[in-house]
Amino acid sequence: MSACSRWLVSVASLCLAASLMGCGPNYAAKVEHMRVNIDRGDLNGAISDVNGALGVDLAAQMPSDDQDQLIPLLLLERAALLQATQQFSLSARDFQAADARIEVLDLSESSADDIAQYLFSDAMGDYKTPPYEKLLLNTMNMLNYLALADLSGAKVEARRVEVLERYFKDYTSDKPDVALGLAAYLSGFVYEKMGQPDDALRWYDTATRFGSFPGIGDVISYLMQQRPLSNDRLQAIAAQHPNALPLSEGEGEVLVVIASGVAPRREAKRVPIGLALTLAARDNTWRRSDRYKRAQRLEAEGLFKWVNYPALEGGFHSFTSAQVLVGERSVPAAMVLDVGAQAIRYFDSIEGKLALASITRLLTRSVASAATEAAIKGSGKRGDSGTALVGFLVGKAVEGAMTVADTPDTRSWNSLPSAFWIVRVRVPHGKHKIVLQTNRGGSAQVEVNLRPQQPWAVVVLRSL
């Protein structure tokens, strides 16, 4: 090979290194301040942090850079925080904007992204929301509209849940996500309050398949009295609550939904290749492949090799039991969705694939380094120590750049609550003080006013 070719190989190698340096944003690092503020309970501070990440000064402003692939996720973060601070209209706007963007990202199946994930970095490519996050986006936005007493807006979100439910059923092999239970319960509530018992019962039926909701038996029973459906499950539930009565004249209803804690988040982690091999070995095809054998050889040679890898960490429940005081009455809150457990289950299901991708990247780096070194050495005269040194250095530069570019995918919804709790209680029309008291000393207080034209209220609280 001529000196010219040697230069060409060196320049190509360094270009490869340079082009990879800008890859893979580390999301966890980008929202680190926000995470700290959420954990401290400083929600306004956390909103300021997300505004900064979005490139705006105020929560009332929307980001202008539509090309930034982190914007949908940052909008989700801000939407949940705005809801937690009772800014329901702004939260609804952010959820809607995030939903539209995530939908586009979610539908895009880029093979370039898949290749990039296996060759260079986990964090390359678009953010794909897990099923429970998709459902919770619409569920939490439904809560915004319910808190604003806007049934029409809440019904739109219920219909979006319906589209998702059909999609999961018809186009994915996944079992329906348990987050569908809460979404279905709230959708049932929306249709019930709109005076559409058929649709309400259909949703309540779905809700009871995924969890238990306090008082749902009574609700199903009196709705079945209005509109008997030929549904064996609903008839059986109604039969267990023969004395259930609809709301009487002058009576209203308050639904309190408490979002508590923070769901576990993805953190960047470096793990030894041995551990990654164990995780990746869950995949039978991979276990029989040449790459698996090569990775095992690396491990057996005792080479100090690490792989970059995201792990699910942190997350907490802010209480384990809570009471809601409505006037003099104290009603226990019931946990209806453990988001944290769902996040862990989902992560467990994909961990093998993540480990496999990280090992493949490690092997790619070794191959690229060796190939660079060999190509440059081969271009010089035999025994030319100068060429050998250049080959070694450029090879290491390529491997180093690829290692730096290999960012674990820490993108996840960091402001997502770890659990949802509900209380549903009947009260006379008029003003009522609603107080949340938790076993860890947390408390919150709001006032509702039930009128004949608006005999229901939904109170949405966040406890950290």
Partner: protein
Amino acid sequence: LTSPRRRSPTLTLLSLCVLTLLIAACQTTGYTINRGDDPTLDEPAMSTAFDRRDLEHLFQKNMTNLMSSRFMNSMNSVNPRPTVAILPFLNDTSEHIGPSLQALLSKIETSFVNDGRLVPVASERRDAVLAELNLQQGGAFDPVRAAQTGRQLGAHYFITGKVYDVAERTSDMRRVQYFLFMQVINVETGVIEWQQESAVTKALVPL
């Protein structure tokens, strides 16, 4: 014996470089949004949501049909001119189109004023009666309640309707068909004097 062929390290390296550049070039999302096969709607949309152009399109189709209908022709010589109440339209879609539907009411009112054969009830009066009856939220399309509202407004006819959608999603596409359904009902007799439905399709499809 022949030794297995070894891949050239230069080739391996250059392949990696080319692949990197290809990946960098392919990072944009390969999706576009179209509005179905209607050649008059060739302006690209921002999303599958119901937007101003969709509203304009469906509104024009339905109002053109209404203004040339047998019902409207029968109003040519009626004196004094009958009144019509324009009642809120129901949003039965998976998109937040409330503001667009409010805009639709104003457009219908303008069309009636310019046409001159029916006199629309002032929107302020209509809104006050609706607020009194608590009909702002979704229940407006119920024909019985709508007839009550029409009577309370002293209207001879009322016009109302709904926008509904058939939304579906597959692994690589989301498609929403929007339908604008409108009808004119005689407040006194409950007879449907005119009705029409038009549709527009929007889809998020691979390029």
